[in-house]
């Protein structure tokens, strides 16, 4: 118990928090954009899963073929896969205008099925899980205590917190595109009457969101694990849906939510080793319960975007 308050523990916790939060930052920001335009993308879990698989499978294959930069090829392929799935979701929810809950879940089921099928196809049945050397960690402050440890993260983590979050904020609130997106989510008629294409904006955010979600998934297989397992995402996509509501559709708050989940997750990992007489599964369930609690406490009377869940048609 003494360990709990030592610097080592805290530093380790913070470092781990940043790492665990990374995929959530990507995916949650992707969903922020999507929901800001009025669409709920429940395909998030599946797209993260697909991103993880496609990233890994491509990287592995490229590695086996002796290509340098196989990790980047994997990441790039994952992004393409995510964008394509984003387009598919757009086709159903924007062009066809079907129920978004069902089409999103359908896409999750499709991506999950495709990934598991693809894994069997590419790797067959193996006793040992295939793996690759993952992305390296970059140490920014080598040798300096505390900072040196905390700032030993993957490039994707630095990009997430230092580039993606501020960039998303700027894009959403300081650009014409961001204005379009926000207007589409509040009142698509206003956007249509102004001469802009509601469809095009929604397709764009879904593609962008899909790509980001895929990066979130690929991070897990290409950086954190260097492998792909069926339990690799384990509901993080759904957590992101909760986080986006909790964040009131703002990128910075979404990042904070991701850090909260990441923190609880990193904490429970450490708590497991501390000799509590509880089965490890209880610890694993903790982050999900905390997410539910966060929703209960902080999400009453939230104003959803005005056109949320409503497909647009010129009546």
């Amino acid at each position: 118990m003494q360990e709990a308050l030592t610097t080592t523990f805290l530093v380790g916790l913070i470092t781990a928090t940043l790492r665990v939060a990374t995929p959530l930052v990507y995916a949650a920001i992707g969903e922020v954009f999507t929901e800001r335009a009025g669409i709920l993308n429940l395909g998030i879990e599946g797209i993260m899963f697909l991103g993880a698989f496609v990233g890994f499978a491509t990287a592995y294959t490229a590695d086996q073929a002796g290509m340098a930069g196989y990790l980047w090829i994997g990441l790039f392929s994952a992004i393409i896969a995510g964008i394509l799935m984003g387009f598919l979701m757009a086709f159903f929810s924007v062009t066809l205008g079907v129920n978004q809950h069902v089409s999103g879940l359908g896409i999750t089921l499709l991506c999950t099925g495709l990934s598991l099928f693809g894994f069997r196809l590419v790797f067959g049945e193996r006793a040992v899980l295939p793996s690759i050397d993952p992305f390296p960690q970059l140490s920014l402050f080598e040798g300096i205590p505390v900072l040196g440890d905390i700032f030993s993260q993957y490039l994707l983590t630095y990009v997430a917190f230092l580039v993606l979050v501020p960039l998303s904020w700027w894009l959403l609130f300081r650009t014409s595109l961001g204005l379009n997106i926000r207007a589409v989510g509040e009142n698509p008629e206003a956007v249509d009457a102004a001469g802009l294409s509601v469809f095009r904006t929604r397709y764009l955010v879904l593609a962008l969101g899909g790509g980001l979600m895929a990066i979130g998934g690929a991070f897990l297989s290409l950086a954190q694990l260097g492998a792909f397992t069926p339990g690799i995402i384990a509901g993080r996509g759904w957590v992101c849906i909760a986080l986006v509501i909790f964040a009131r559709w703002q990128p910075v708050r979404a990042m904070l939510g991701a850090l909260l989940f990441g923190g609880v997750f990193a904490l429970q990992l450490r708590l497991q080793t501390m000799g509590f007489e509880l089965p490890f599964e209880i610890f694993l369930a903790l982050p999900y319960l905390v997410t539910i609690a966060a929703l209960a406490l902080a999400s009453r009377h939230v104003s959803y975007p005005g056109a949320y869940l409503k497909p647009y048609r010129r009546e």
Binding site: L179, N180, E186
Partner: protein
């Protein structure tokens, strides 16, 4: 616009319509609800595509396949339900779609909006959020939005429906000003006196066809009315004489309530409606009428005050209890308050399923019989198994009326009963209300339509920002006086 035709499914909304707008004129597009006016203009603005016909701007044939094209040709439209994004600011709404490139310089944008506002003489605050603006102000934003895009043709769809008489005057002044600057205006309306007052030319549509096109100075309201509906007068209902004082049917005693955001919506509202009387509540929409209707419907709680129905205290009764106490409720937006995907019969009984089921099991035959009876009695053009959403506005309102009046209510709460209905349906609804009045019901009529209030009411009250400004016998009321009260001007 020449030879424009447009189908929606089996309905012919526009039938070989010709419409010509000259530069610098205010041209009225007149017709009753459902005549095809909005459809025609939405075709002009690129929201719909015509099945046949062509459009020419300055004698050049043009293709308008989306609002982008319309804007390019200098056409701007202000629709009835404003196309504004409520949580965004005035500037953000106005510049939407006009900025190119990525970067958005808000200060620059605000400045240019301010300049446009002064230039065109349309006063608004660039940094205000739409949500905080009144209806009249929002309309000004919409007009400026069109002008900001260099529109030379302005289409206004029923612009006065939501304005006080004074705001209407303001609008007319602005429009005349724009006309003098060389702009051309299409003024869609079904209100004859406004058309006579401000327009230069009138095109009358009836059932999708052009039935007349005259310069305004060469015609009269009677002639226009005849073109609009085939009769020279319409909408005049004869109110039978009232005899003697009656019992207090509906009493609101200092009723106070909050709106959905927790802000005060009703402030100590006190009203008395007697049996056999219609009390008309006038006011611009958004001043508490919706909340008042909900209190009486049993869907909104009261924070202070009491509500009584014929001596019975019904304060904070829920919907079922209100109905049991004899309150009939005609909601503000019938289409939103019925279940479109369910049948006519189901909608007719949904408020009182217990009467049609025993121990939870539905008596479908009884439901069907009941529906058939009501359809016959109220001449509803529908079958019991028809889905509600396929019904026309008029028939839908008849269903709502039928299910309420069949219960012989002692008190009727009626909100915006004829909004969006054609003349025949409007007359029907109003005659039914007068019938209920003769039978001794106490009727609270909440309406934005001053004409309707003045025609039907025995007593008139005005609501402004949740408070009752005045209550007076109908004979003492004038449109101007009511208009001032509606705008919050307390008369000394």
């Amino acid at each position: 616009m020449h030879g424009i035709s447009k189908h929606f499914g089996l309905v012919l909304a526009n039938d070989q319509v010709d419409f010509t707008l000259r530069k610098g004129e205010i041209h009225a597009l007149l017709g009753e609800n459902g005549a095809g006016k909005t459809t025609l203009m939405r075709i002009l603005y690129g929201l719909y595509q015509a099945d046949e016909g062509e459009i020419k701007v300055q004698d050049q044939p043009v293709v308008i396949s989306s609002p982008k094209d319309a804007i390019r040709h200098g056409i701007g439209m202000v629709s009835q339900h404003f196309a504004l994004a409520a949580p965004l600011t005035v500037t953000e709404n106005i510049i939407l779609g006009t900025t190119s490139g990525l970067n958005l310089n808000m200060e620059h944008a605000e400045r240019s909006v301010r300049e446009a506002s002064t230039h065109y003489g349309i006063q608004i605050d660039p940094v205000a959020t739409i949500r905080d603006l009144s209806v009249g102000q929002r309309q000004r934003v919409e007009i400026l939005k069109a002008l900001y895009r260099d529109a030379t043709v302005l289409v206004l769809d029923e612009p006065t429906a939501v304005l006080t008489p004074q705001e209407v005057e303001q609008l007319f002044i602005s429009l005349v000003g724009l006309k003098e600057q060389g702009f051309s205006v299409v003024f869609i309306s079904h209100k004859l006196h406004e058309v006579m007052a401000i327009t230069d030319h009138v095109t009358v549509l009836r059932l999708g066809r052009v039935v007349g096109e005259v310069p305004t100075k060469d015609t009269s309201p009677n002639e226009l009315a005849r073109m609009m509906v085939g009769r020279s007068t319409f909408g005049v209902t004869n109110k039978p004489e009232d005899n003697g004082p009656h019992q207090e049917g509906l009493v609101l005693d200092r009723v106070t309530a909050l709106d959905n955001k927790g802000l005060p919506a009703l402030r100590e509202v006190s009203l008395i409606v007697r049996a056999g009387e219609i009390l008309g509540l006038a006011g611009v929409s958004g001043n508490g009428q919706t909340e008042l209707a909900e209190v009486l419907a049993g869907t909104r709680p009261v924070t202070h005050g009491r509500v009584k129905v014929f001596e019975q205290d019904v304060t904070d009764f829920d919907a079922q209890a209100m109905m049991a106490a004899g309150v009939g409720r005609i909601p503000e937006d019938s289409r939103a308050n019925i279940i479109g995907q369910m049948t006519v019969a189901q909608n007719m009984v949904i408020e009182r399923l217990d009467q049609f089921s025993s121990r939870g099991y539905l008596d479908r035959r009884a439901i069907r019989r009941y529906a058939q009876e009501l359809i016959k009695e109220y001449q509803i053009k529908a079958f019991p198994e028809d889905h509600m959403r396929t019904l026309s506005g008029g028939n839908l309102q008849k269903v709502v009326l039928a299910r309420v009046l069949a219960q012989k209510p002692r008190v009727l709460m009626v909100a915006q009963p004829t909004r969006g209905l054609d003349v025949a349906a409007t007359e029907y609804v109003r005659s039914k209300l007068l019938e209920q009045r003769s039978e001794g019901a106490a009727i609270l009529l909440i309406s934005e339509d001053l004409d309707e209030i003045m025609q039907l009411s025995d007593t008139i009250a005005v609501i402004y920002e949740g408070s009752i400004m005045a209550v007076m016998p109908a004979s003492d009321a004038t449109p101007e006086g009511l208009g001032l009260l509606m705008a919050g001007v307390q008369q000394t």
